[in-house]
């Protein structure tokens, strides 16, 4: 099992020809549960499409760019079936081309409260374009004037911005009477401009204008700019709209455009892979089954059906797995096991068992007595004592940092002088679950069921059975032991249950050697 690595699929230019070349060879993640601050991979640089998971996911709950949360629908669109989302790309301006930047806002059209932009009333002073008012019906009307503006652009996304087009010479004839939403006639306003004949293409960085607030247009308004390559017969937008202009200084003087390349600072929160019923998958049994069937492409029946049902009911904590780097399947199993106190064990019926300890004596538990033992040892393992357990949970998808829940057992410290700390890394998401796990490891939790009593010396037996006995044993089974002599309070064992940890079967001698721990220390 150790050689099996997951996830098993990788990004390639053969599959995604327009993807970020730097992502070639990276694994396509398999993600379960609610995850935060994930970094998506750009699979289409032209279309601005990013991918989050190999398979369908339940939801994209937040997309942030440089810390700013984007609005679903208007600023990005989700394709959950493919675990992708699309956000527009940075507008790219071609040389010697006429474009139109459009200013729009969402405050109520009102003749008293509106924004007025700086303009030159002599339309002949700027020859590269003109000012338009756009009414509520989308009709553009040339105003024979020009906004004062600057187009800031970059030669590449990483380069420094410079002024590409400049109409910022404030001379006689200027005022702030390019009105936005003072009436239906100026529901939006636009200014055309022409790019230089040589150079380019250029990435649009920002558009600089100058506005004053007349009256009190809503302080919570959102004003944005967009760039069109044409407005008739229909408007053709180039790239994405700007960020909210009011987020920056001034009334609404700068329209910054998202700078989106392959390495764009995007983080995403998601709800990952779904159950067959369309719900978010968070249960350990469901996740194991899904990995088996849909990542490893294994036989779904390979997992013991009864154990799956039992594990699902017994271990109900909400999990989140961010499988975004190649890792041994066994490592994931180990982390799942230690995070919820169960075991993935091959059974003798050819299935994989999912076993957890529980009180009681299962039917058919073998009972071994003095005459059955060829040798018998007991141990009290002080070296297995821990004073403190730290459970790491809720790993951040971006930083990789965990939250930590911690419990301590004073008995370990005061009775056995142990100051050792056990650290357990888990896929748990909930602090209460993590704390309970820490307490269950120590045995200090209030309710029984999973307590491991690591605050005490582990009581362990190691015995060899006479030839022919014990061949049915596997780890996770229980055995009942009776012995006239033992290391115990009574000096004997009288039908005491032990939980089998290790079984060695020697076909040469026919003997079986078993190591088991006191069953009462396992639940």
């Amino acid at each position: 099992m150790g050689a099996i690595k997951i996830p098993r699929y990788r990004y390639s230019l053969a599959t995604y020809p327009n993807m970020d070349p730097a992502a070639e060879g990276q694994v396509i993640p398999e993600r379960y549960g609610t995850l935060y601050n994930l970094v998506p991979i750009c699979i289409d640089l032209n279309a601005g499409k990013w991918k989050l998971n190999r398979r369908e996911i339940h939801a994209i709950t937040a997309v942030r760019e440089a810390g700013q949360t984007l609005i679903s629908g208007s600023e990005y669109t989700s394709d959950l079936a493919n675990a992708e989302f699309t956000i527009g790309v940075t507008p790219v301006l071609q040389p010697s081309t006429v474009y139109y930047f459009v200013l729009e806002s969402d405050y109520t059209i009102d003749g008293v409260n509106y924004l007025g932009y700086g303009q030159q009333t002599d339309g002949s002073k700027y020859t590269g374009g003109t000012l338009y008012y756009i009414n509520g019906a989308g009709t553009w009307t040339d105003q024979a004037k020009d906004l004062y503006f600057r187009i800031w652009a970059k030669a590449s996304l990483e380069a420094k911005a410079f002024i590409l087009v400049d109409n910022w010479v404030w001379v006689a004839g200027w005022n702030y009477k390019a009105l936005l939403r003072a009436s239906a006639a100026n529901t939006r306003i636009a200014q055309s401009f022409k790019t230089p004949a040589s150079g380019g293409p250029w990435y649009l960085s920002n558009i600089q204008v100058e506005a004053i607030a007349v009256g009190s247009p809503s302080a919570s308004r959102t004003t944005r700019a967009s760039v069109l390559s044409a407005y008739s017969p229909s408007e053709i937008q180039v790239g994405v709209k700007s960020y909210r202009m009011e987020n920056y200084t001034g009334e609404a003087n700068r329209a910054y455009f998202p700078q989106r390349g392959a390495a764009t600072d995007l983080t995403v929160d998601i709800e990952g892979i779904e159950t067959s019923g369309g719900a978010l998958m968070t249960n350990v049994a469901d996740i194991i089954q899904d990995i088996q069937a849909n990542i490893l492409d294994g036989d779904a029946d390979a997992l013991n059906a009864a154990d799956l049902v039992a594990l699902k009911a017994a271990r109900t904590e909400t999990l989140a797995l961010n499988l975004d780097t190649e890792i041994d399947f066994e490592s994931i199993i180990n982390k799942l096991e230690s995070g919820q106190l169960w075991k993935y064990i091959p059974l003798l019926d050819g299935t994989i068992g999912l076993k957890f300890a529980a009180a009681g004596e299962p039917a058919g538990t073998p009972h071994y007595r003095d005459e059955h033992f060829k040798s018998f040892k007991m141990r009290r393992k002080w070296s297995a004592i821990y004073e403190r357990v730290k459970v790491k949970y809720a790993q951040d998808g971006g930083s990789g940092e965990f939250l930590v829940a911690e419990a301590e057992a004073l008995s370990a410290k005061y009775l056995y002088r142990s100051m050792r700390t056990l650290e357990v890394e888990t896929f748990l998401t909930n602090g209460a679950d993590a704390l309970l796990l820490a307490e269950d490891y120590l045995g200090t939790s209030a309710s029984a069921g999973r307590r491991q009593y690591l605050c005490w010396p582990t009581v362990e037996v190691e015995f060899e059975l006479r030839a022919g006995l014990g061949w049915e044993l596997i780890p996770s089974m229980k055995v009942k032991l009776t012995r006239a002599r033992a290391m115990s309070a009574s000096g004997a064992l009288d039908a005491v249950l032990f939980y089998v940890m290790d079984v060695q079967k020697d076909s040469g001698s026919g003997m079986v050697k078993v190591t088991a721990i006191l069953d009462a220390m396992t639940y």
Partner: protein, 219 residues
């Protein structure tokens, strides 16, 4: 006479002192009679403790019940009645884990019949079971200081120790091992290991007590 094994037939004896503990806060305590009602007692047949600890800190030994009554975190042992009195903070009866209360006494074991420091040692260690001691360190840039001692093997064919590991706490307790030649007096014995007990292994014939470097636990 100092320890000077001549290498021919030194008749070496190993003496082992283990300061084991008994957990007291799980026992049923009886309140002392007036006016010493802040003191509570239990039967303590192990004799006078070498120390008493509550929540890991030593209590002060007192020479009378009255002086035990006079302050908290004190103890007094009545050798005549084999009673151990304690006065915990608050003056009430110790209850489970409030505080964790331990009394300590020393078990003295040897590979032969021997007396040391005025104490008789139980000759219950196999004569051929004296482990080697290894201690080493590296150059200053190499780290790597280590001290190791084997296990302490105790004869247990008669089951003498079967119940003792439940009755007392043997793990993580101070163990001192001395080596000397039989019959040459206390000065002949020298300490060859001072550390802690570790894991305990039991079978029908022997008990083996592991040992840990002094650095393993906080002194």
């Amino acid at each position: 006479m100092a320890f000077e094994p001549n290498g021919y037939d030194p008749n070496l004896v190993m003496l082992v002192d283990i300061e084991i503990a008994r957990r007291l806060d799980t026992l049923a305590w009886t309140q002392a009679a007036a006016p010493n009602t802040a003191c509570w007692y239990v039967s303590h047949p192990e004799g006078e403790p070498s120390k008493v600890e509550g929540d890991g800190a030593a209590y002060t030994q007192n020479s009378s019940l009255a002086s035990c009554q006079a302050g908290t975190r004190r103890w007094f042992y009545d050798a005549t009645l084999e009673r151990l009195y304690v006065h915990i903070t608050g003056g009430g009866s110790p209850t489970i884990a409030n505080p964790y209360l331990l009394s300590f006494h020393v078990r003295r074991l040897a590979t032969d019949v021997e007396e040391y420091g005025g104490h008789l040692y139980l000759p219950i260690l196999p004569a051929d079971s004296i482990p080697s001691v290894s201690s080493s360190t590296g150059r200053f840039h190499e780290n790597g200081t280590s001290l190791s001692f084997g296990t302490i093997k105790i004869l247990n064919g008669d089951g003498r120790f079967d119940t003792l590991f439940d009755a007392f706490i043997w793990e993580a307790k101070r163990v001192t091992v001395r080596l000397g030649e039989k019959g040459k007096g206390d000065a002949n014995y020298m300490v060859i290991f001072d550390g802690w007990t570790g894991d305990i292994s039991w079978n029908d014939d022997f008990v083996e007590i592991g040992t840990e470097d002094l650095r393993t636990l906080v002194l």
